[in-house]
Amino acid sequence: MKTLETTLRSLRESGRKALVPYVVAGATPDWTHHVEAAVLGGADAVEIGIPFSDPMMDGVVIQEAGLRALERGTTFESICQELESLETEIPLVAMTYYNIFLHYGLRRTAGRLHDVGVSGAIVPDLSLEESDEWRAASGDSDIATIFLVAPSTSRTRMRTVAGLSQGFLYASARMAVTGAASDQGEGERVVSELRRVSDIPTYVGIGVSTPAQAHTTAVFSDGVIVGSALVKIILQGASPTDVESFVRSFRTALD
């Protein structure tokens, strides 16, 4: 079992609901401070978005953040360098599209991510069926590969996905790309079905945008992923302190 999963399992055992905020690397010059602020605010892990030109699974907010990052000259390597200087105890999980890894080289990617303190990877366009190569390349590294489950995923398929996911399972609350939503979506059904086939920590994301939603969601899941809602305030110019208190509002709702 990779370190990420061990960490997150013991987090769950401690009775704490996981809070995983999402920060787009490079979207602002001080993004690493935002990461640190999120930690201070009570995050249990942080998703580090590595921008890609064609973010097929992302809504307008994260697209915009990615675009800004790219315009600032952000690259996989520049992000890794900035991560090197970031001091944190909690796990970091890279989130990007497969072409970025492919282009950098799969083994090289896994090694580099590990070197800079990343312990997991979410690659939404890397389907289970196409993941052999990456899993082989990252297998002997300590990078956990996190798969997503969607409301459209069949039960049989859930079993397979859950079986291969490492670290945690990303349960998508709705049929949508990243972005705020006002309703609860189908997270509860998805998680309850997953529970029958796996005991891996299961976090709900896609559309979790308020502390109240996070609270309700945490009742049936092991944690929540807060993406667009946080990225949005960062795009609007939030300071690290703003980020810290934003994250803390979720922390409070979860505890």
Partner: protein, 393 residues
């Protein structure tokens, strides 16, 4: 070189050699699987196949003729025949694919299609086929393109479709595909994504090629009727690669040389490298960091930074050869075909013509028999070409 079944089925994961596959968000995986099953089922159902062919015949004007081009032949020292997709309904080969996909949509019990479009050809074709069957239709089109191609937007609206301007990324075709995929995630239960070329996740590259295979199949018997057993070369322009795949499919197992002509500014085979984009592993234009580059071509239909995975494979195995032609050669070729044969080709098609002009007596030896896939008519392009020529002078 394994010529037998050179353009058969991909493997069970949709791979053509090292390319293809299905790189999509988990939310779309079931839809891709469902589509693959529905297509397999339909394509082996005689009734469906008959309906598809009847619709092509009664509605879309197939078979399109093969036209000998005597005057161009004489000028170039070749024996040239043109497969006339410009005469298909809506003006290009695009209709073959959308008729297949909309009939399949109906068969799957879905009531709506979405599509991406660049210049609007595939969007107009999709809106057309959807209107014919009474399906809802939404077309995603980069905002830049909606402005460049106002008339095609209006055409789609006349056909009852909704056109959504895409404001993300470069606001062009590549982003329209992203946006259509994003939309598809939200409505996959009742909506089919009618992709416009041999690209995207499995089964699209295979399915679209099968729906375009009719081009090559017809051309093969039509050439025989004209006394040509097997042409020495088959030439087609390549954007995503659907017209090329369609015509190549009819000759893959013959001795014909297959040439795919890309736009120099969107030459995924000539200038690209392996990568993953829009659900497929293929050759794509990308920068040194793996960010996908925008294509730049005079011709909107070739303005795509990727290529269908099967073409990447055909290039890999050497069964087909891919070449590139620059914007500067294209207008002259358009004029040449117009003047010498009375056919104004689409700018996309003009790339293939330009390459023939360049290679007549070279890679196309004097006297050899060439089948040109005349993928579309140039009516959509004359305003643009006129404006360009006026600027120059």
């Amino acid at each position: 070189m394994d010529e037998i079944n050179a353009m058969g089925q991909p493997d069970h994961r949709g791979h053509f050699g090292g390319f293809g596959g299905r790189f999509v968000p988990e939310a779309l995986m079931p839809a891709c699987v469902e589509l693959e099953e529905a297509f397999r089922d339909a394509w082996s159902d005689e009734e469906f196949v008959a309906l598809y062919h009847r619709t092509l015949r009664e509605f879309a004007g197939r078979p399109t003729p093969v036209t000998p081009l005597p005057r161009l032949s004489q000028r170039l020292g070749l024996r040239i025949f043109a497969k006339r997709e410009d005469l298909a309904h809506t003006g290009s080969h695009k209709i073959n694919n959308v008729i297949g996909q909309t009939l399949l949509t109906q068969r799957m019990g879905k009531t709506r299609v979405i599509a991406e479009t660049g210049a609007g050809q595939h969007g107009v074709a999709t809106a057309t086929a959807a209107a014919r069957l009474g399906l809802g239709c939404t077309v995603f089109m980069g905002e830049v393109d909606t402005k460049r191609q106002e008339l095609n937007v209006f055409r789609m609206e006349l056909l009852g479709a909704t056109v959504v301007p895409v404001t993300s990324g470069s606001k062009t075709l590549k982003d329209a595909v992203n946006e259509a995929m994003r939309e598809w995630v939200t409505c996959v239960a009742d909506t089919h994504y009618c992709l416009g070329s041999v690209m995207g996740p499995h089964p699209f590259p295979w399915m679209v090629r099968e729906f375009q295979r009719v081009i090559g199949a017809e051309a093969a018997w039509q050439l025989k009727e004209l006394g040509v057993d097997v042409p020495d070369a088959v030439v087609a322009c390549v954007g995503g690669g659907s017209n090329a795949a369609g015509v190549f499919a009819g000759f893959a197992e013959t001795a014909a040389q297959l040439y795919g002509v890309e736009a120099a500014g969107g030459a995924a085979v000539t200038s690209g490298s392996p990568g993953v984009l829009h659900g497929m592993r293929s050759l794509i234009l990308q920068d040194e960091f793996g960010q996908v580059e925008e294509a730049h071509s005079i011709s909107a239909g070739l303005d795509y930074p990727g290529i269908g995975p099967e073409h990447a494979h055909l290039a890999d195995t050497g069964r087909a050869t891919y070449v590139a032609v620059g914007d500067d050669e294209v207008i002259g070729a358009m004029r040449l075909l117009s003047e010498s044969e009375g056919i104004i080709p689409a700018l996309e098609t003009a790339h293939a013509v330009a390459w023939m002009v360049r290679e007549a007596g070279g890679r196309l030896p004097t006297g050899s028999t060439v089948l040109l896939n005349l993928s579309g008519r140039g009516d959509k392009d004359v305003a643009q070409v006129r404006a360009m020529l006026m600027e120059e002078s």
